[in-house]
Each structure stands twice: as C-alpha cells, then as structure tokens.
Amino acid sequence: MRSLEPWVEAPLTAFLAESGARLTLLMTSAGQVVAQHGFVRSLDVMSAAALGAGIMAATSELARVMETAPLESVTHQGKALGLYLAAFGTPRGRWIGLVVYGSETSLGLVQLFFARLVDDLSRTAPAELPPRQVLAEDFEHELNSSLRSLFGR
C-alpha cells in the first residue's frame, strides 16, 4: 500500500485487511491519486483514477438530469471480479474510492468496511492546509515525486 498522505495509511490498511479487496485506489474527485494498493504500474493507476473520476462525474451529471441527489456509488459485478466505486466527503474535500474485489469476499463486506473507512478518514484527517501554488516549471517534478511515493521508486 502506498499513500501520499501518511494519515490515510492506518484506515486504509484496516480496510484492506477486513474487506479482502484486491485493488484499492483513493483519489480526489478530480482524479488526483491519494493512495493506492495492489496496482503495479503507474500507467494503470493513472488510467484507473481518470476513468473512475470520469464515471463518478458522469453519474453525478445523470443525477442532475434526473433532478435527484447525486448518486454516491456504482457497482459493476463481473463473474470473477467486482468493482465498487463510491464518492464521499472528507475534511479535505470530496474523494472517490475505487475497489476491485474477487470471489474471496463480497460486495456486502466491501460496502460495510468501506463505510468504516470513510468514517475513519473523516476522524483522522488533519486540518486543511492552505493551498500551495504549483508553478508550471514545478509541475513535472511534483508529478514525478507523487508517482515515486505511490510506487516506491
């Protein structure tokens, strides 16, 4: 498990142990990765984050068209794997969790322990830091630094 935010590690470790999830990705609603477990390649994690954020943006827009409250989670159930995608509020803004699970666990367990993860994150989140300006010349360095943290390279 790798995380850009140290305070995320304990709640995420507990979630992984209890839910039996194979892959987990926590990201901001803009698709910026906060933590990941199980992904091997940076390209995969960036693609999954972009697609997950896109799906949640599409469902939010669908809810707006239907004049209903934003849809909070999406589940795709396959024969071998299931995918659970859920948006939730944190003191650091709105985040999205993407969880891939297999037949060794169940959607019910994933949903149950994901709800606990959301509670734990809300409880342990430190106060919001003032936004830091990222200059264009720093962007590549910042991105590479984040990728190193997420993949330990």
Binding site: Q77, G82, T105, S106, L107, G108, L109, Q111, L112, A115
Partner: protein, 115 residues
C-alpha cells in the same frame, strides 16, 4: 416462493427476536428485512454471508454435506442462519434469552418456505 416479507413476519413475533433478514448469499446484501432500529442490517447481512461461506468451505473440506443451519452464540445475543435453495440465507438476530429451540425450528421452516 412465498413472499419474503411474510416469511420474515413469522420469525419476528417470537419474544427475544431483534430482527430477521433474507440475505443474498453470493454478495452479502440484504434482500428483505424486518429489524429493530438498533440492528445494523447491512453489517449482519455481510458478516452472516461471509460466515456461511467460510463454514460451508470447512464442511466441504471435511467431506461433509452443507449444514442446514449455523448458530453463533455470543454473550449479548445469538445469530441463527439457514440457507435456502435459491442461494439466499434466512438470518435471525436474537437476545440470549430467546427460546433457541423454537427459533431454530422456525428458521428452518422459513428457509424451506423462502426456497
């Protein structure tokens, strides 16, 4: 298949029963429930399905047929679950003082009716 809610309705009047659920065994989700407010149905469903799955694995490994019911007894209550033929579970959460024998009979009958 009988109406699932009518099946649950035969379990909940028994003194000491805190709630009854029909749970999808494959994904651990609530299909129908009749619960007191203090019972977290989502948690019961997920954990009961997981328990049933693991216990079925144990009996398979021992070369035994699947049990007709599982009973989990704790200091503050008990959980009784029985599989149906439709890949569902009938689950009851009860106080320790419940008449466990009668409850077991009712749960087995409910699992037959829910099949």
């Amino acid at each position: 298949m009988s109406s699932l809610h009518s099946v649950l309705g035969e379990l909940t009047p028994l003194p000491g029963v805190r709630g009854a659920l029909v749970v999808s065994r494959a994904d651990g989700l609530v299909v129908a429930d009749a619960l007191r407010e203090d019972v977290d149905g989502r948690a019961v469903a997920a954990l009961a399905a997981s328990l049933a799955d693991r216990m079925a694995g144990v009996t398979r490994a021992l070369g035994q047929p699947e049990p007709v019911a599982w009973q989990l007894v704790g200091s503050e209550g008990l959980l009784l679950a029985a599989p149906t033929r439709e890949d569902l579970l009938v689950v009851v959460v009860a106080d320790p003082a419940v008449n466990a024998g009668e409850l077991r009979l009712r749960v087995l009958r409910a699992a037959e009716r829910a099949a």
